[in-house]
């Protein structure tokens, strides 16, 4: 079976600086793939490349369609939701408005109301704060809002960029638990970029390790967990 998302020999640039040097990765239908690596390895760029936010070469396929060369707005309409690093919430708008925007690209407006319920079930705290301006939420709450907003698209594929960044361990575990539930119950495939390798490898079924824009190790998450080099450098034991 062909994977849901597949990037082949992907290269990406910021201006004249080449950040990805021929990276290949895939996300299976219903699977969770994680991309690990240190700061500056190109993890975020890989996600941005999928969404058409950086200049790329190589090929990106999603359900048999080419993504490279498409505008971000059109890629979103194919069912790819991106919760970006730094959360990318609309800090001047209310929680509810942020969620409404998450469903902006959908055509089935009638079913959006039900999705508010569904998202509030995952994140009851957002329901309490639905009239509050997003900028007044704590970091963890904003991260939850970012994930919730992405879910409002009813995506096929969820791109998560460092959801653990700067959050308390308890909050991080909660977010990861919800991502696992979404993946299992709704068959939403996930591409997760993380620095916290231990958490990410627990969640994912497939993993890639990036170093300075190249894939150095890849394979089933369980195998990477046992890999000595990875254990020493990224898991720290």
């Amino acid at each position: 079976m062909a994977p849901l998302l597949e990037a082949r020999a992907l290269e990406a640039w910021y201006g004249w600086t080449k950040v990805l040097h021929g990276v290949t990765f895939a996300v299976d239908e219903g699977g969770i793939t994680t991309v690990l690596g240190a700061n500056g390895a190109g993890k975020t760029t890989a996600l941005r490349a999928v969404c058409g936010m950086v200049k790329v070469a190589g090929e990106i396929h999603f359900e048999g369609r080419r993504l490279d060369g498409r505008a971000t707005e059109d890629i979103v309409r194919l069912g790819i939701a991106h919760a970006p690093e730094g959360r990318g919430t609309f800090v001047g708008l209310t929680v509810e408005e942020n969620l409404r925007l998450g469903a902006y690209a959908r055509r089935d407006r009638a079913r959006v109301a039900a999705d508010f319920e569904r998202v509030y079930r995952y994140f009851p705290m957002l329901h309490e704060r639905r009239r509050q301006v997003a900028g007044t939420l704590s970091g963890g709450e904003q991260q939850m809002l970012a994930v919730a907003r992405a879910l409002m698209l009813r995506p096929r594929l969820l791109l998560l960029d460092e959801p653990s960044l700067g959050l308390a361990p308890l909050v991080v575990r909660e977010i990861f638990r919800i991502v696992r539930t979404i993946n299992r119950d709704e068959r939403v495939s996930v591409l997760l970029v993380e620095q916290n390798a231990s958490l990410a490898l627990d969640l994912a079924d497939h993993a890639y390790l990036l170093e300075t824009g190249r894939v150095v190790v890849s394979g089933p998450a369980a195998d990477l967990r046992k890999d000595d080099a990875i254990r020493r450098s990224y898991l720290g034991y």
Partner: protein, 293 residues
């Protein structure tokens, strides 16, 4: 007391016009960080359009509606064709482009319609309205009504429609907006269209008071700048309140401070700008912009 009330009402009427124009300035500023110096001339040009439609025999409200529609489409086209190519240029370059538009609209209006002052009709009845011993100009009251109605409609649009929400989102965070599927480029164009529309209404409301001629908006634009500065260039509500305040201040100062009269009224607007920039540069309701560098 009667004179005072009358002056306040007529101040509110001109204030409504400043408020409208200030609002269209703020709208474009929030969406694109650009101050559109051509806003006044765009309004003037739209008013001339209304005038020539009426000269072809159309009744007032038909001309009004047609003008508003043409102004909207025109504003949209202006952004797509002229602003879009310089979108990524430094702000100064875009400001120069809007200054260029100002001169072009002004000269084309002068060339097409001449610099002769023309009367422009008011849609409101002529007979003054008496409440107690106080007499109000019907046009003044009408302008206040039209301004408030337009503001209410805009507020409803931005608050309750998903397009309005998308416009706000695009102005606030273009990158995140693209990630939820908003076509940000079109939202900017839509912002220009709406600004042009509001300006057209302001032009048609002020023309019966100051008459129609190519330079009619130059003074009004300075009042609008004063209003937007006073209310805060980032706050639509602030700009509107600023407009009404400037209108009333200007009128009261002109009436009660003998040396100001009509000659120094415009100076007062500039004084407002300077004082606000010295005391509270972000205006009454604006947010101080903090940029990470």
């Amino acid at each position: 007391m009667d004179v005072f009330l009358q002056q306040v009402v007529s101040g509110l009427a001109t204030g409504g016009i400043y408020a409208s124009l200030a609002l269209s300035l703020v709208m474009i500023y929030r969406a694109t960080d650009v101050v559109n110096f051509a806003q006044g001339e765009m309004a003037m040009f739209s008013t001339y359009l209304a005038w020539s439609i009426m000269n072809h025999g159309a009744p007032y409200w038909l001309a009004f509606v047609l003008t508003v529609v043409i102004a909207f489409v025109g504003g949209l086209a202006l952004e797509r064709l002229i602003i879009r190519p310089v979108e990524d240029a430094p702000v100064l370059a875009i400001v120069i482009v809007t200054l260029g538009l100002l001169v072009i609209f002004n000269s084309v209006a002068g060339w097409a319609y001449s610099y002769i002052i023309q009367p422009f009709p008011s849609p409101f009845p002529r007979t003054p309205i008496r409440i107690g011993r106080i007499v109000f100009g019907p046009h003044d009251l009408g302008v206040i009504g039209v301004t408030l109605l337009m503001l209410a409609l805009l507020w409803l649009f931005f608050r309750f429609t998903s397009l309005g929400l998308a416009l706000r989102a695009a102005a606030q965070n273009p990158a995140a907006s693209r990630l939820v599927g908003i076509r940000v480029g079109w939202m900017l164009a839509l912002g220009w269209g709406l600004a042009a529309l509001i300006g057209a209404v302001a032009g048609m409301m002020v023309a019966p008071i100051i008459f129609l001629e190519p330079n009619m908006m130059s003074g009004i634009l300075i009042y609008a700048f004063a209003s937007a500065t006073l209310g805060g260039f980032t706050s639509p509500g602030g700009a509107v309140l600023g407009g009404f305040l400037v209108g009333v201040i200007e009128n009261l100062a002109g009436t009660y401070v003998s040396f100001i009269g009509t000659d120094l009224k415009l100076t007062l607007a500039l004084l407002v700008i300077i004082v606000v920039l010295l005391v509270k540069p972000s205006g009454l309701f604006g947010q101080a912009v903090v940029r990470r560098v």
